[in-house]
């Protein structure tokens, strides 16, 4: 260490100064590069779908509502296309969301709110004309959102990362809202949890991905002890009961008999571990769909026999469809889109 003292103070300061300039240059360069790339996304890209501003109604017949991901000024906005022409021109509402779902003429939109020193997140309930009716602050990054078929209950999941000292500790927080009374259950972890019929109070319980059967009953994913479970939940009784294992992000079919879900499969790589499966709730029989790629999405039922889900695409996300009975093959239904809803059929 003594050799350090041979470097005079002056030259040490000089070395530091040069390093500050070089590293500062790299830092500024990286930021400018990223800023340029971000600005690119605000410009319309040729070959992309046509998008224009207009009225979007959540209960209009014959249209599909979704989150537009096409580059340009309408990126991330809630938009609609004619149901018969998903590749056709899009009408964009000007309402921006990070996560979105709609049913029964009610929409729930999880969005970022710009702040002076940091961004915060908010859940906003929208009426059929996309006007805000309620708003709720969120504790973390939005993950999933769902509205009950009747449009009178809503649920959302956010990721909560403790405090900065906790490092990598994450957890999910799922809230359920009764839109008639305005009552909000902040976290489903307060419900009584039954594992295989026995009441349990696991410390490491995490819940996410609600899908509603009606305004009070729902399904969701519960995780504890390194395993995931499909749970049946009841908002009135405040209970959660396990139904099946290895189920994530469930989505209940319109007739309430089947669950489409992400199943973690053994032989898959650990950063792409999920396959899209369908579970028959009466027989608990699992059917793999024809989609062989890893799906990280809470799928949506377009009708009683077809699933729609997102996969990474050129614009962040494309929507694909596949038959729910394991037959057929996946096909693209809409480029540059996310969070489709098929409510007004």
């Amino acid at each position: 260490m003594n050799r350090k003292s041979h470097v005079s103070r002056k030259s040490r300061v000089l070395i530091l100064l040069v390093a500050v300039l070089v590293l500062g240059g790299v830092a500024v360069g990286a930021t400018l590069h990223a800023a340029g790339r971000a600005a690119e996304k605000d410009r319309v890209r040729s070959g992309g779908p046509a998008v224009r501003s207009g009225e979007v109604a959540l209960d209009a017949p014959g249209v599909s509502v979704f989150q537009n991901m096409a580059w340009g000024p309408h990126r991330d906005e809630i938009a609609s296309v004619p149901a018969g022409d998903p590749a056709g021109p899009r009408t964009s509402s000007g309402v921006r969301c990070l996560r979105f779902h709609t049913a029964g003429g009610t929409g729930v939109c999880l969005r970022a709110v710009r702040g002076g020193l940091r961004d915060t997140y908010r859940a906003v309930v929208l009426d059929a004309r996309l006007r805000e009716t309620h708003r709720y602050d969120l504790a973390g990054v939005p993950s999933r959102a769902r509205v009950s078929p009747g449009g009178r209950s809503a649920a959302w999941t956010v990721f909560v990362s403790g405090d900065s000292y906790a490092g990598t500790a994450f957890s999910t927080r799922t809230s359920v809202l009764d839109l008639r009374t305005g009552h909000l259950d902040r976290t489903l972890e307060d419900y009584r949890f039954f594992l295989d019929g026995r009441p349990r109070k696991p410390v490491d319980l995490n819940l996410w991905g609600v899908t509603f059967a009606d305004d009070t009953r729902f399904y969701a994913t519960a995780a504890t002890g390194g395993r995931t479970y499909l749970v049946r939940g009841d908002r009135a009784a405040r209970t959660l009961r396990t139904v099946h294992t290895n189920v994530e992000c469930p989505s209940l079919s319109p007739d309430g008999t089947r669950i489409a879900y992400k199943k973690r499969v053994e032989d898959a790589s650990s950063d792409a571990p999920w396959r899209l499966y369908v579970l028959d709730l009466r027989t608990l029989r699992e059917t793999p769909t024809a989609e062989r790629r890893s799906v990280d999405d809470q799928a949506v039922w377009r009708d009683g026999g077809t699933l729609v889900y997102s996969l990474p695409g050129d614009y962040g996300s494309d929507l694909w469809t596949v038959p729910a009975d394991g037959s057929g093959s996946p096909s693209v239904s809409m480029r540059a889109a996310l969070a489709p809803a098929f409510t007004a059929r």
Partner: protein
Amino acid sequence: MYVADNRTVPDRTPDRAQDHPDTAGRRPLPGRRAVAVPGAVLALGTVSLVTDVSSEMVAAVLPLYLVAELGLSPLGFGLLDGVYNGVSALVRLVGGGLSDRGRGPKSVALAGYGLSALCKPLLLVAHGMPLIGAVLAADRTGKGLRTAPRDAMISLACEPGARGRAFGVHRAMDTAGALLGPLVAFMILRAAAGGYDAVFTVSGCVAALGVLVLLLFVPGRTTVPTTPAPEEGRAPLRAVLRRPGVRRLTGCAVLLGLTTVSDSFLYLTLQRRLDLSEAWFPLLPLGTASAFLLLAVPLGVVADRVGRRKLFLCGHLALLAAYGLLVAPLGESAALCCLVLALHGSFYAATDGVLAAATADAVPSAVRGTGLAVVQTGQAAARFVCSIAFGAAWTVWGDRTALGAAAAGLVLSTAAGTLLLRPAPAKSPPTSHRSPSVEP
């Protein structure tokens, strides 16, 4: 060990700097009050400040990056946390041991800071969960490795009588960096939406700067290397554990750590008790950090006056008061929230750097790194155990009862700690515990 107590209790030895030669090899003038913080301490503080800006930048954007950008589910991380904690405790002991032998604390600290700095650009290329997990584990290994040698260098760079203040200055600078990091990250993301790669690149540059400041401005061995007693050189861990002073201090830190509820649980209780809006939740740690930042230096100075071990115990009374406010039915006011966070921050200010200073008093300079690592690892392990136990109590009894139990435990362990750390009886002559390096 008892040297420190005698020195830092004013009524017994008012002229405390007089008969206590500086560990760094300089002999202070009789009665002189240390005014300037040693340059090495400021340099180490700068290294910590810069490094914390770098690492907190990443920590602030990581959840968003994983979820929004990579589309990963970060739940797997929770399971690995326990393993990381164990590994980083082990690494800390290794870091402390290495800093006492071979090429000294600066080399070990350089290795630790360097490893963490290398991890930042690696985040640019790691896109899967296992790889990101590995990079974060390496980052933590670097942090574990550097903590004890860094604290050893701080303690060796200043006069024993001013250690509390020196650690206070360091902790304040460290916390300032932790507060600045998320702001820098936010500004980058504001300028460049989705610019996580820019955040990681800037973080890497900042970390490299920290390593350079350490390399250029932190002196290596400031003293002529002392020849440790042969047994201490060969087995520093055993030598350290043989000292009753270290054993008592470790025991006290462990006891109190066992009743120190983790920050996350405290914030969660605070949120529930006061029915705070969800949006406030991420701001609570800022309250604690601000109080820590403001009080670290003043309380470090107080520690030098009244005795470090005494202040370390008193700091836990602040934590107890915070528990009390949360358990008592005091309604829901913003003032209560501020008071709890202020108490929580002053708990850190009165215990974190102060414990390091107290440890330095108890451990001769030849095995300083090992001593610091032992005490800090004991405390961290105890807090981890408390975290698990408190989590279980929380789910079974509810937050209020669990916190009440923790408060009762804290009263007991503070009482036990007071007994453990009470000033030595006269039969224990100070000189017998003096470190070899300060032997006249």
